[in-house]
Symmetry: C2
């Protein structure tokens, strides 16, 4: 769904700037059969992703291509919108087949998991892409629940790139519409990490909801989560800019995640049931994993190895609750003595 | 209710630090009859504010005093928890009757309205108290919906004082409990202004809810509101610290206001009805005024006089919608071109 929602935007913006962008937008589609027809054929004739985004027309200049290499052939800009677990494999297939000056922009939230234990630390998805493809990678994050983006509801997003003067302008023009407002910052690591870490806070918000706490407590949990996000990023990726947290990728995405996101939903249901987290995920997400518990696991590995877990009482509590090592009702007593910011 | 909720906290903390605080806590109560009994007598015999906070025991060391001067006589610390429109009159009554070294801490959210037009600018309630009483004034703000504080739900609050080294310690000990966690900062103006300005954003969130927008749009509106708060404070009260917005008085109170507060509620109902804002306030708040529209009015006066209204598209839109000069449905088109932070 997310890919099609973004394709609708890019289909439009490339038409608005035909001198800057080739309006022939290729969209790689993982081929599958819908009834007797190939999904890519349906998209190219009906201009609608009837399976993942029914009812929303995709501009006719967007062409579905089921072959990955063909979709990326001679491309100058690649927009990555795929489940995070496929990134590595996709990059390996693309390795050596791309234009040397290709610019990748990743919309994938989460970390390149599970790596922390193997590699001795978390790995950003953008860094994984860079490592394999040896290209310039930017990221786009924000409060962008896909079905609302697809419905053309007003929202915002943040692009994090290495050099705003060089890449900020065209990247903004590629994504910015009246209802999808883009700000560009150079603090790409912070932008990307916000998109991953907020899911841990979303879990904590879900526990809070599941336990029946009120607005004050939930706001305190979200705030403490935000503080731990800033602290983690500043410690492990020094040089982040505090103003980046005021962008859509920061507070806005955090709020959306803590009120409307699926990590929140899964964790609320988990607290209210007698089931394991895996059982609840199976019921609610149809077998997919929520990102929050995975990210909490990775982050815990790093903070614990650095003897810093006590500086991240909320992150640590979420990890332990998800692992079944602690009851959700003990979370508040863990965060009571949250060290003051900074 | 708020006064009694805070009295329960202070009754407890003063007992915990008897060498530092006199555990005889006087609580000024605006006298009224409840059945055949005086409210102050009921509080002093039943140790419960049966009218405004029924069912919650107030520690026996808190004594209700109906006479203002008697309540404040020889006090070293005065905690102000009164409706903002009474501040001036109360201060005038106290003028010249207080210990010279008395420290006032104000929990009153809002601005000393309506002053902007008369005085040429907004006035902080703490500044109004200082001006009349010529004493040191600190503030306490945060995500503290009163009924949840009274229920001993976990929450946080921020104290803003002039000199943390001098006043931070005892002020923290006076308010801090296991379920009411205090951080102290020196950026008192920012703390107080957050408590006032967030109500404008709460109105905008209410319009968003009333119009049926989703999570992305609401998060964007809240974020843009936060940006305008930082911008307003930095411009009109220079020297604020960005980290203060990460305290409970900042993001946390903003979130609570935008999801649970009464400005949100009134503005949602206003959009959904064909009534004026005043009619909706009358129905929902029993004749009281919501703070947000008043604050939007004051703030608009200042930004407009400085030719800066276009830097505050959300604040300006809220003002105009509340005044009936603009439809709520036009708000989003006003904020589309929000100037980037900073």
């Amino acid at each position: 769904m997310r890919g099609s929602a973004i394709a609708r935007i890019i289909g439009k913006t490339t038409q608005s700037f035909p001198h800057e962008f080739d309006p022939n937008v290729r969209m790689w589609v993982f081929e599958e059969m819908v009834g007797n027809e190939k999904l890519s054929d349906i998209i190219n004739t009906q201009h609608e992703n009837v399976k993942y985004l029914p009812g929303k027309k995709i501009p006719t200049n967007v062409v579905a291509v089921p072959d990955l290499l063909e979709a990326c052939d001679q491309a100058n800009i690649l927009v990555f919108v795929v489940p995070h677990q496929f990134v590595r494999k996709i990059c390996q297939q693309l390795d050596g087949k791309l234009c040397s000056d290709v610019h990748v922009i990743s919309l994938i939230k989460g970390l390149a998991a599970p790596y922390a234990e193997k590699l001795g630390g978390v790995k950003l998805i953008s860094d994984e892409i860079k490592e394999i493809l040896k290209v310039n990678v930017s990221v786009l994050m924000g409060a962008n629940l896909a079905h609302e983006v697809a419905a053309d509801d007003f929202c915002e997003a943040t692009i994090g790139c290495k050099t705003k003067a060089q890449d900020g302008g065209y990247l903004k023009r590629l994504f910015n519409t009246d209802n999808f407002r883009i700000n560009v910052v150079e603090d790409a690591h912070t932008v990307e990490l916000c998109g991953a870490l907020k899911n841990i806070v979303g879990c904590a918000a879900g526990f809070t909801d599941g336990l029946g706490y009120g607005d004050n407590t939930k706001a305190a949990v979200i705030r403490i989560g935000l503080i731990e996000m800033t602290r983690f990023i500043e410690h492990f990726y020094p040089g982040s800019n505090l103003t980046t947290f005021f962008e859509s990728c920061g507070v806005a995405d955090l709020i959306t995640t803590c009120y409307g996101g699926r990590n929140r939903k899964v964790c609320e249901a988990f607290v209210k049931s007698n089931k394991t987290l895996q059982e609840v995920e199976k019921e609610l997400l149809g077998g997919q994993s929520a990102q929050g518990p995975l990210t909490a696991d990775e982050v815990y590995f790093m903070t614990q190895r650095s003897n810093l877990s006590d500086k991240y009482p909320l992150f640590t509590a979420v990890h332990r609750i998800c692992k079944g090592e602690m009851k959700a009702s003990e979370m508040i007593s863990c965060i009571r003595d949250q060290p003051e910011y900074p």
